[in-house]
């Protein structure tokens, strides 16, 4: 997997039939509250489920199905019945103007939303057919299966580069196999190995911003997540670091399902296969998914006028 050319399989998921997803697909592709937004564009995704367990690294990417997600901070509702399928082996981009709830939606997907005081949630998120909000999975188990990379790079300042990579395993109480192997593999996958292989004992904060962000990606990968959520991972980075992170994202899409929030339209076009457009139509209302579908369609021929306005830069 390490040397694979990302272009070879990217964007061409193998069609397969999976009974489980076929069942849930009908629920997921209909956004009940957005009656005006056609859902036809998402039809092809129903057929594109994942193939069997072919990922080299052990963890199998899973698709994530969010159904009727609503969210509140205290009394204020910020999301209203958002449903979205995030397919395995694909990069799904969440776009939309500031304050439309896309980051909140992302944080609901690995139960980080509830760490904020007064935050409430409704709806269901299924990972491999298990509701992550049910009692079947503990909250820590959910988060180690669904990793997250934040807007600002946040390596642990008290740890070396090497310990930062291993920190997830130690923090989640997982058994650590061959440490050197894990460190090298994760840093390679995050595109950082060559830059830091001679200074693994240095502090995580001694790296540049872009390197720190890739270190955070490596740290998330070490836990072998099936899904990786990224909340505007490049917004604090310069163009060169952004490019490296984007390349990393594309390369990772083979063995991890990726959901990325971005304000950058070009970035959404460059890295994502699927795209969902969030919008708050009225300040008093909650954010909704206006339209979702393949990125190419969303940017070239969206069904909704508001999507067209947004992706062509007329507002937001």
């Amino acid at each position: 997997m390490l040397g694979t050319d990302p272009e070879s399989t990217w964007g061409q998921p193998t069609p397969a039939v999976d009974a489980l997803w076929a069942d849930t697909a009908s629920v997921a592709t209909i956004a009940p509250t957005v009656a005006t937004a056609p859902t036809v564009a998402t039809a092809p995704t129903v057929a594109t489920a994942v193939t069997g367990a072919t990922a080299v690294t052990g963890a199998v990417p899973s698709s994530l199905i969010a159904t009727d997600i609503s969210a509140w901070f205290g009394q204020r509702q910020v999301l209203e019945r958002c449903s979205l399928r995030m397919e395995a082996r694909q990069v799904t981009a969440l776009i939309g103007p500031s304050g439309c709830g896309k980051s909140t939606f992302l944080r609901i997907l690995n139960r980080m939303h509830e760490t904020i005081r007064g935050a409430k949630v409704a709806g269901q998120v299924d990972l491999d057919g298990t509701d992550i909000y049910s009692d079947d999975l503990g909250v820590t188990e959910v988060r180690s299966r669904i990793g997250m990379v934040f807007q600002k790079p946040n390596p642990f300042p008290s740890m070396s580069i090497r310990d930062n990579v291993l920190s997830g395993l130690k923090l989640s109480g997982k058994t650590i196999g061959n440490r050197d192997e894990i460190v090298e593999e994760c840093l390679t996958r995050a595109g950082l190995w060559n830059e830091v292989k001679d200074r693994l004992r240095d502090g995580g904060m001694s790296l540049s911003g872009g390197q720190q962000q890739r270190l955070c990606i490596a740290r998330s990968l070490a836990v072998k997540p099936r899904v990786l959520l990224m909340d505007e991972p490049c917004s604090a980075l310069d163009p060169i670091s952004t490019r490296v992170v984007e390349e990393t994202v594309i390369a990772l899409a083979h063995d991890v399902t990726i959901v990325i929030v971005t304000h950058n339209m070009q970035q959404a076009q460059r890295v994502s296969d699927e795209c969902a457009f969030f919008l708050v139509e009225d300040q008093a209302m909650a954010g909704r998914i206006v339209e979702h579908g393949p990125t190419a369609t969303m940017f070239s021929n969206p069904s909704d006028q508001r999507t067209l306005d947004y992706v062509s830069g007329r507002f937001g």
Partner: protein
Amino acid sequence: MTLLELDREVVDPVDQPDDDGRPAPQRQRKVGGLTMEEKAEYAIAFAAGIHLVVLLRLLLDWDDLLGSSVLGLIVFVLTHFLIVRERSSAEVAVDKSVTAVMWTVGLIVVAVLAWMVVFVAIKGFPRLRWSFIVEDLSTVGPLDPGGGAFHAIIGTAQQVGISTVCVIPIAIMTAVYLHEVRGRMATVVRFVVDALAGLPSIVAGLVVITIFPGFAGYKASMALIVLAIPIVTRGAEEVLRTVPDSLREASLALGAPQWRVVLRVVLPTAQAGLVTVGLLAVARMVGETAPVLLTAGGTNITNKNPLDGQQSSLSLYIYELIRQPNEATVERAWSGAFLLLLIVLVIFVAARVALARSERRLGRR
């Protein structure tokens, strides 16, 4: 000066390439620091202040050192402001004056501290020798030379040692409860801790000895624990507040339960601050006298058992000896004071060095 001009000025005639064709090292420009003019301004203002003090002394025979120094200082600041105001705008003058005031205040604080250390050293150092550290007062009569503070050192070490071992975990766990767990009782706990912080130390000693009658070293520890817990708890809470929430989020998102987040990320990140808070508490406990007097009683004999019988401590040793009428005893008290100062200083420096080393290893700063 525009940027362009700056660039041109850097290229100096001496920067000609040498024989190999490599450019000679560039001359670095001096930035920051004081210009000759500014130095002169300070010197003149300082002279004005000094002269006034001397004049007052000569003419009015005013020999109150503290009063005339304060007056001289005010004259210094005013003169400095007027000199600067003469040549530049009010903005610049105020800026320079405030800088001067800040420097002066800083220097005064450092000078007072240094003077105190030097004073204690002058009084205490001459009689401080090895025998002072290894001998006690059990066989020394009031007028005899010799003898030392071994029993007091042992007492301080045991009492403060026991307290520290108890206080640090309790206080840090309380701080974690207050700031990390944010449990339902947090408000109540914080109120109690704040109330405890206002407890006079002698009352702590009084309560302990009333509830548990009879002198013993560990009872002094109990009083010290009561006094130190609020200091360390509130200090540690402030330190935990400096740990960015982004680190907690990152840990949680990796699938960590909260206790591991605290143990592996929050506390290690806050390490430097926590050590400082702990040291401040140790220094405070080492200096406490009243509660030790009430609970450990004080003695001239070495008692190595903190669980039973009277014990002394360095601060108590100083308190008891300095009130004696004979010179040899008073000198011992000063030696004890100097030793106490040294111990606190050594602990501080050692911890700082250790921390700086671990921080440098990680390339922080």
